[in-house]
Amino acid sequence: MLPAAAEKIEQGNSLWLDAWLRLRKNHLAVFGLGALIAIGLACLVGPWLSTHGYEEQNLELGAAGPSRAHWLGTDTLGRDLLVRLLTGGRVSLGVGLAATFVALTIGVVFGAVAGFFGGKLDIIMMRTVDIMYSLPFMVFVILLMVFFGRNIILLFVAIGAVEWLTMARIVRSQVMATKRMEFIEAARSLGFGRRRIIFRHILPNILGPIIVYTTLTIPGVMLLEAFLSFLGLGVQPPMSSWGVLIKDGAEKMEEYSWLLIFPGAMFSLTLFSLNFLGDGLRDALDVRSSKD
């Protein structure tokens, strides 16, 4: 009689489960993930729960420090900073996620196609990327804003449309390395089509770098939105975004320090969290790292 335990066949862990197990051991990454979820939820539901509106002014009160009625204080027009911070978070996080999604989609497809087919097509596609790289980025965004007017949708698209370049390069190099591996050779000899090989065999194997680069793109895009709003090209008043709040706060920091401290802290926390999570994911998704 064989012992019952011996009957159990060792279960292989999926890539995702392995990654999750590794990620869980990385305290900073877990902290980052938790903080991001908390911030996201707060921005999503916070403004509904608050008794103040983000555009509601109280000139009588003016700029006042944190109090029981206004937890994070009010700005010079007497608007509740907490609500403006959370509403602004929707815009900033929204721009971050949407623009990154645009960048991800274009970049992955573009890079994968260029890397897989190679040859003349690759040269043409990558030189296009080089040319777009050489465009002064800010000028491009400002031009778009001037031509098409200011609206948030366009802001997403404009930022996403220029953020995909690096992603395309990364994906291309990964695809070129992967396509020479034996399992691709095997897929080829089984007669699979190119599309199936790219999307079912190559891409899942280079997900690690893609995800890592994505988490690093989000803060970059958020910084960019902040910068555009800082220049007055971002969201329109009375809407707020973290960039707008930080800009306003920076102008008034000597007098009303809380107007800079809270938005600044929130923004920094989000960026740190994203970077920690990105770092953690890089380690966790690296298939070559030891399975301890």
């Binding site: 555009e55 509601e56 002014q57 000139l59 010079t76 027009l77 009375p238």
Partner: protein
């Protein structure tokens, strides 16, 4: 130690302890030593032609580049001799005879003579120049007819040169403030020969105002003009009173952002700022009151409502907008420089004139009016755009009013901000719906604020015109009795405010920063500071 090394060491040590190495000398300190004034001027001037100057920055620079028949006293701005050494006034107060000083010269060395003034006034009044301020010359007999094209014969205009140094001006009606009027840029002489050398003299933008070409007759001459960077004026050696001018140069910096300007001041780049962010007024009042100035100022902020726009053509909607603004909250809570809520376009401080009751703040009445106009609760009203020039202070006011209109009337207003030059172009073309603007009095009389809204005024821009209003101003100008005249003006203002082509917001004070080394910068109601009397005391 080798002698060469020792010498090097001594050289380095002495160099580094010399003034200027450890702590770099600021522009202000250097300026104090060399009598170079560094002046923040707000928006960038579009041109340096006095005849088309409309904004404060342009008027400020041209006042240093040119001198009119009379100049202003630095303390209370009463008229003092300028190009004219003296003048006679006839007993009926209609004929003025000016005697020009023989040593008045242009910066190219040519003398300033009586016909220079005639040619200049002709230029202002020529319709093709489209000078916004041409209306200022209407007090001269026949000037209005010439400007409106009723006659093209300038001899019909009541200004004649008796000889090269004698100029006679006949007025349409007695004008007690005529001499003060003469200091306005529209009356300044321009070098017609120079202008013609660079193109057409009777249209705009011929380029004669570029450095190297520019010719003036003021205490200072144009040396350098880099748009959006700085304008450099140097003391003019040909000015008749050059011995009295103490500044050697003035550097004007167009810094549209009040925050950036305040930073420049703090780091010692500016002697005087144009403005100050509202949020910083209290901090300066507390920490360095010596640098802060809040001078009385004949200046009103208001919205122009473009009555050519379909929505704003409706008087009820315009009045609803005017009634829904909480002026008291803006003046007292938002601004911190002693500004007063303005219910009328004429600010307080004009002697002998009491403004009418004006537009109260009454949200309930505003809502009722809007409902009467067919838009109860703002429903169905198309989105309205509010244009203002880029400045933190303007944005604050625009955002505050945007929220008042949203809260009280349910109206959605989109804010648009543009560079000042763009705003000016849009304003001239009438491409705006609501425009935040202000007006600084040009002389001490209510007509400097009321003439704006005449249907033929070049500064009206609202498209609003009313025959009765024009008639009231016309008869007021021809009324000798001060009390009756004031009554007529008051009636006109009440009539205009009831139609609400504009929405007054607040009567301003001039809040700015000034270094203690600046002397001769006196508080004056019009915020004019003749540069000839300004100096720096290190």
């Amino acid at each position: 130690m080798r002698p060469a090394l020792l010498v090097l060491l001594v050289a380095v040590v002495s160099f580094c302890t010399a003034p200027g190495c450890l702590k770099r000398e600021s522009a202000v300190q250097r300026g104090n030593r060399d009598q170079v004034l560094h002046r923040g001027m707000g928006a960038d001037p579009a041109d340096l032609d006095p005849h088309t100057a409309t904004n404060i920055a342009e008027i400020d620079v041209t006042s240093a580049l040119f001198e009119g028949l009379v100049a202003e006293d630095p303390l209370d701005l009463h008229p003092v001799p300028g190009v004219a050494a003296r003048w006679d006034i006839s007993s009926d107060l209609l004929t003025y005879t000016f005697y020009l000083r023989p040593d008045a010269r242009w910066s190219n060395g040519r003398p300033v003579i009586a016909t220079d003034f005639l040619a200049s006034w002709r230029r202002v009044l020529t319709p093709s120049l489209a000078a916004e301020n041409a209306g200022m010359l209407y007090v001269v007999q026949g000037a209005e007819a010439f400007h409106k094209g009723a006659t093209s014969d300038f001899a019909q205009v009541g200004a004649t040169a008796i000889d090269a140094r004698t100029l006679r001006v006949v007025l349409e009606h007695p004008t007690p403030y005529f001499l003060s009027l003469l200091t306005h840029p529209a009356w300044l002489p321009v070098p017609i020969a120079t202008i013609q050398a660079h193109g057409e003299a009777y249209t705009r933008g011929n380029g004669w105002t570029r450095p190297g070409r520019h010719v003036g007759n003021g205490a200072f001459a144009l040396k350098e003009w880099r748009p959006n960077d700085k304008i450099v004026l140097e003391k003019s050696p040909t000015y008749w009173d050059a011995a009295r001018v103490r500044l050697s140069a003035i550097h004007f910096y167009p810094i549209e952002s009040v925050e950036a300007e305040e930073r420049s001041f703090r780091t010692g780049q500016l002697h005087i700022t144009y403005g100050l962010p509202f949020a910083k007024v209290d901090a300066y009042r507390r920490n360095s009151p010596a640098l802060l100035r809040t001078d009385p100022f004949l200046n009103t902020y208001f919205f122009r409502l473009n009555v050519r726009q379909p929505t704003l053509a409706n008087e009820k909607i315009r009045r609803a907008l005017a009634l829904a603004v909480d002026r008291k909250a803006i003046a007292e809570k938002l601004l911190h420089g002693g500004q007063k809520p303005a219910t009328t376009v004429t600010p307080p401080g004009l002697l002998g004139y009491t403004p009418p009751a004006g537009t109260p703040s009454d949200p309930t009445a505003a809502r009722a009016l809007l409902a009467e106009a067919g838009f109860p609760g703002g429903k169905g009203l198309p989105n309205i755009e509010l244009l203002h020039n880029t400045s933190a202070n303007n944005r604050l006011i625009a955002e505050a009013v945007q929220e008042m209109w949203r809260r009280e009337l349910g109206i959605d207003v989109t804010l648009l901000n543009q560079e000042y030059k763009v705003v000016l172009a849009e304003r001239r073309a009438g491409r705006f719906q609501i425009l935040l603007g202000d007006w600084v009095g040009d002389y001490l009389d209510p007509t400097t604020f009321l003439d704006l809204w005449r249907s033929d005024s070049g500064n009206n821009h609202t498209g609003w015109g009313n025959a009765e209003y024009d008639a009231l101003l016309f008869s007021a100008a021809r009324t000798a009795d001060a009390a009756t005249r004031a009554q007529l003006l008051q009636k006109a203002e009440a009539l205009m405010l009831a139609a609400a082509p504009i929405v007054p917001i607040y009567a301003n004070t001039h809040v700015f920063l000034v270094q203690p080394s600046v002397r001769g910068w006196h508080p004056t109601l019009l915020d004019h500071h003749p540069y000839k009397h300004v100096w720096l005391e290190p």
